[in-house]
């Protein structure tokens, strides 16, 4: 039982935050956009509330409204906001300033821009403390150092005199949290505090939030698009859709048994790492897009996309009403007592065919890529980024190989080496028997047809000055696969239809599409040449969960229909487990472990794999939190690359362990495979 549970057992008289029928609009040229439209919730002292929803659902605007941080053209036009019983909306600017950063604090998403780059950490931390008159400068200094230490920053006495750019993203987010807690606030609002961070760092930050809540009794409002993140910190969650709260309930109950179809879609759109893999790998995805905030439907706002809608839903707007004790939902269907199914969607039926054991389509041996950096000064030594340091991989035809690891582990570089966007420093790449590691660009060009790539950022991977028709026609014409004119047009139309887009959209430009649609176009472009191998570099990490599910389903469909081979690069382990046949775990540009997906997740052999899996936020699971961050790629550690962070490192680890086959099909580079494995995770 945590401290927050105890505190809720004897409720305090005045809640920390009461939000009643909050309405915030953006005044635009086209008319008022109702970003937050009648949101109500209460946060008691020491309570934790999560707000979840897709982009544009109004969750961040809600957070900014709570702090009264909105600027024109946004305006709060209705409702009541009470903080510790005081009316926030009636406060003068100076009263608000006195409150912000003192009794109520906020932590923003982007740790890279949240700190002032020209002010030392110490001053950024002590400024709110002395500014609000709570501490004298020497006290503030002591407290700042203490807080940084509490946030897990090593040697805080020395760190405080540094500048923000000397800190990594995770460290900066700790500094931001320390700033948030500087005056021991009654309420901390955290807007996607871990979205920009790696999964291991995310786990550290979430643990920290939980501990701070338990120790200081600070109420927390955590905003995230990830229900798993919210579940590991917050007892209650409010699910937002189109500016409204559509469900509010204890997080565990929402995850187990959502009572609003949108919450149901959110829960089922993400593969769960703690549940068995079914034969059906399709995820639940809802079609369509959130309603236009200028023309909201008269009935339930989710009705146009809802798979469970009844006739009443399109006519009448449902209220947020109790569907079970302590559970509110804005849905006619569940209010009438109907239960939403466990999971939905029609699948392939049956298990996926095992790939034929043949010669590998892609084979990588001893691949190395070093990037030289410019010298810091004329006499300084040369600096080299060791991005990839000897990778061996085999990818069979029809197989999906997942590559996972923290940022900086070399996974994106690997993708660009395999597709020969970069030339490797050393090693061999064999594609269907042909050596391509050192081939000239002209020699590779014919092979390009058979090997394509889907990129991470759907906003950067399409040429903004070309219509999507031209984008898709370009490879066809360049490789002489279709003659200009009718033939190309027909083929482009087919491609668009293949990825589920309207063929009539050929003359549109990329900026007219949403992120998910752009990623479909990107996939269509990769498919234009009918490749055998598709390298996908984090193709879903920039998308909302529902869109992620759509893209993953599309990739599964296409693999079935076209017999594609995927090299799938991701940092989301649950997704990799769900989609991939085999998984290779990278650390500092080397393979730590490679094994069939199910076996790897069930019983990791390498300690790094074990901690990586354990870092995935799953509510109600104790985690082994990996301390620290990956070492710099400028100077590699000697011996086993992981030994500087490894929980079971011993003197023998100073000799590098080879990547050896310990069980059939299971390779690991560790002197003690399986020793820190499942037992450590389950504990």
């Amino acid at each position: 039982m945590t401290a927050s549970d105890r505190r809720e057992a004897k409720p305090e008289a005045v809640p920390v935050l009461e939000v009643e029928d909050l309405r915030t609009v953006f005044l635009t040229d086209a008319g008022p956009v109702r970003a937050v439209d009648g949101v109500s919730f209460t946060v008691g002292a020491g309570e934790t509330l999560g707000i979840v929803g897709e982009s544009g659902s109004g969750k961040s605007v809600t957070a900014l409204s709570l702090m009264r941080l909105l600027e024109e053209p946004a305006r709060i036009v209705g409702g009541r906001l009470r903080f510790q019983g005081r009316d926030l909306l009636a406060m003068r600017p100076d009263e608000l300033r006195a409150l912000r950063g003192d009794r109520m604090a906020m932590v923003f998403q982007d740790p890279m821009t949240g700190l002032n780059p020209v002010i030392r950490i110490l001053r950024q931390l002590t400024e709110p403390m002395t500014g609000h008159g709570r501490f004298t400068p020497p006290e503030a200094r002591r407290r700042a150092i203490g807080l940084l230490g509490r946030m897990g920053i090593t040697a805080p006495e020395r760190s405080v005199s540094r500048f923000p750019h000397e800190f990594s993203g995770g460290m900066r987010q700790r500094v931001m949290l320390a700033m948030g807690f500087a005056n021991d606030p009654a309420l901390l609002i955290a807007d996607e505090p871990t979205t920009a961070l790696d999964v291991t760092i995310q786990a550290q930050i979430l643990d920290l939030l939980r501990q701070l809540n338990a120790e200081f009794g600070t109420a927390i409002v955590l905003i995230s698009h990830d229900l798993g993140v919210i579940g590991s910190v917050c007892r209650r969650v409010a699910v937002m859709y189109a500016g409204e709260v559509v469900e509010e309930a204890p997080t565990a109950e929402v995850l187990e048994d959502p009572r609003h179809p949108y919450a149901w879609a959110l829960v089922n759109a993400v593969p769960r790492i703690d549940q068995p893999l079914g034969a059906d790998r399709r995820l639940v995805s809802i079609e369509g897009a959130p309603p236009d905030a200028l023309a909201l439907p008269p009935g339930c706002r989710f009705a146009p996309r809802c798979p469970f809608k009844v006739e009443r839903c399109e006519r009448e707007h449902p209220p947020l009403a109790e569907v079970a004790p302590g559970r509110l939902a804005r849905c006619w269907v569940t209010q009438a007592g109907q239960v939403l199914p466990k999971s939905g969607g029609a699948g392939f039926g049956g298990a996926r065919p095992a790939p034929a054991a043949a010669e590998p389509l892609l084979s990588v041996r001893g691949l190395v890529k070093h990037f030289p950096l410019p010298r810091e000064s004329f006499f300084a030594p040369k600096r080299v980024v060791h991005a990839v340091n000897g990778i061996d991989l085999d990818l069979k035809r029809g197989e999906t190989l997942g590559i996972v690891g923290e940022s900086g582990c070399g996974k994106s570089t690997l993708a660009r080496l395999v597709t020969r966007i970069h030339a490797p420093t050393a090693g061999s790449i064999t594609f269907d028997g042909q050596e391509i590691a050192s081939a000239s660009p002209a020699a590779i060009r014919p092979l390009r047809r058979r090997m394509q790539m889907v990129f991470q950022d759907p906003y950067a991977s399409l040429n903004p000055r070309m219509t999507i028709g031209d984008t898709l026609a370009e490879p066809l014409v360049a490789h002489g696969l279709a003659r200009r004119g009718a033939e190309v047009r027909e083929r482009v139309g087919e491609l668009l239809a293949t990825v589920g887009l309207n063929p009539a959209w050929v003359s549109r430009f990329p900026h007219e599409f949403s992120g998910g649609q752009r990623q479909r176009i990107s996939i269509a472009r990769a498919l234009a040449l009918q490749p055998e191998l598709v390298v996908a570099d984090e193709p879903i990490s920039a998308l909302d969960v529902n869109i992620q599910a759509q893209i993953l389903n599309l990739m599964l469909d296409l693999q079935q229909r076209m017999g594609l081979t995927y090299l799938f690069i991701a940092h989301d382990l649950a997704v990799v487990r769900h989609l991939c046949d085999r998984v290779a775990v990278l650390y500092l540009g080397q393979v730590m472990e490679s094994a069939p997906a199910e076996a790897l997740f069930a019983r990791p052999l390498h300690p790094y794999t074990a901690v990586l899996i354990s870092a995935v936020p799953v509510p109600g699971r104790t985690r082994v939190v990996l301390q620290g961050e990956p070492p710099s790629t400028l100077v590699l550690p000697t011996g086993c690359p992981f030994r500087t962070r490894c929980p079971i490192a011993r003197p023998v680890c100073e000799t590098p362990p080879p990547l050896a086959e310990h069980e059939a099909g299971r390779w690991a580079a560790c002197h003690f495979p399986g020793e820190f494995g499942h037992a450590g995770v389950a504990a």
Binding site: G31, A460, R525
Partner: protein, 286 residues
């Protein structure tokens, strides 16, 4: 509820267009006006620009001479109209040739990388490290007075900024994912450069070109003011200001060519800002 909210009505389409393109329209109008003046100068001017009438020297503006006459009794208005020809010619040709050469150097440097890049960029740095107007002065003085020579002198100092910008823009494009995608699709380098890199890099260059014409006009006028630009009888604004700079009583001699320079530079600046907005594909569709 929402109906009762006192919200301002959405701005009309015309108001939005005005806000977005109003200044650009004014700029385009000014520039177009001066271009027309330059083309039609022989028909618009009441006197030949070099017609000397010493008996009528330093007359204030009147019905006969709208902008007065200068120290040699030449009609200032006619000279102003003919001056537009030289200014526009110098400004546009310096910027067009300078931008073409500079862009070529910059794009080649960015695409070739390595030794060629280093050599071209050091050359650029070499030119950039001199104050441009001083260097142009020195070159113009060495080449001798004359419009063509002054334009050549200005070209020498003009191209490096375009080379710098073009290289930076091309480098940014090189690392864009859609350029990587084009490489993976197996497109040839010329096509990647022509279809993916240049169209996306050209926007800021076009903006710089438009904004820079005004700059070039000022510099040319400045050189003329110092006595290097045009061979004396030729009507040129900078030279006209120079002729009038000591005539405090006869304010019209220097003032009107000065105003002409001001308006044409402002016109190109407004137009340049408008071009920048218009070239942004996101802003355009709104």
């Amino acid at each position: 509820m929402s109906a009762s909210l006192a919200l301002p009505a959405p701005r009309s389409r015309r108001a939005r267009l005005w806000r977005r393109y109003g200044l650009a329209g004014i700029g385009a109008g000014i520039v177009l006006g001066w271009v027309l003046v330059a083309v039609l100068a022989p028909w618009l001017a009441p006197y030949p620009p070099d017609f000397v009438d010493v008996t009528n020297r330093l007359q204030p503006p009147s019905g006969q001479h709208w902008l007065g006459t200068d120290a040699l009794g030449r009609d200032c208005f006619s000279r102003l109209l003919f001056g537009a020809r030289i200014s526009l010619l110098a400004g546009i040709s310096v910027v067009a040739l300078g931008a073409a050469f500079g862009t070529l150097v910059g794009m080649v440097a960015a695409y070739a990388r390595g030794l060629a890049d280093a050599a071209l960029m050091r050359l650029t740095d070499l030119v950039l490290c001199f104050p441009p107007i001083i260097l142009a002065l020195a070159i113009a003085a060495a080449l001798g007075i004359g419009t063509t020579n002054t334009i050549i002198a200005m070209l020498v100092v003009w191209w490096p900024k375009f080379a710098r910008l073009a290289r930076a823009l091309a480098l940014v494009q090189r690392s864009q994912e859609y350029v990587e995608a084009a490489v993976v699709l197996g497109l040839k380098p010329a096509r990647i450069l022509g279809r993916h890199i240049v169209p996306n890099a050209i926007g800021p260059l076009v903006v710089l070109v438009t904004l820079d014409i005004g700059n070039a006009i000022i510099t040319f006028a400045g050189l003329s003011f110092l006595g290097l630009g045009v061979v004396p009888p030729t009507a040129e604004w900078g030279a006209m200001v120079a002729e009038g700079r000591e005539l405090v009583e006869q304010w019209w001699v220097a003032t009107f060519p000065g105003l002409a320079i001001l308006t044409i530079v402002l016109g190109f600046n407004f137009l340049g800002d408008g071009v920048r907005d218009w070239l942004d594909p996101k802003a355009r569709s709104r």
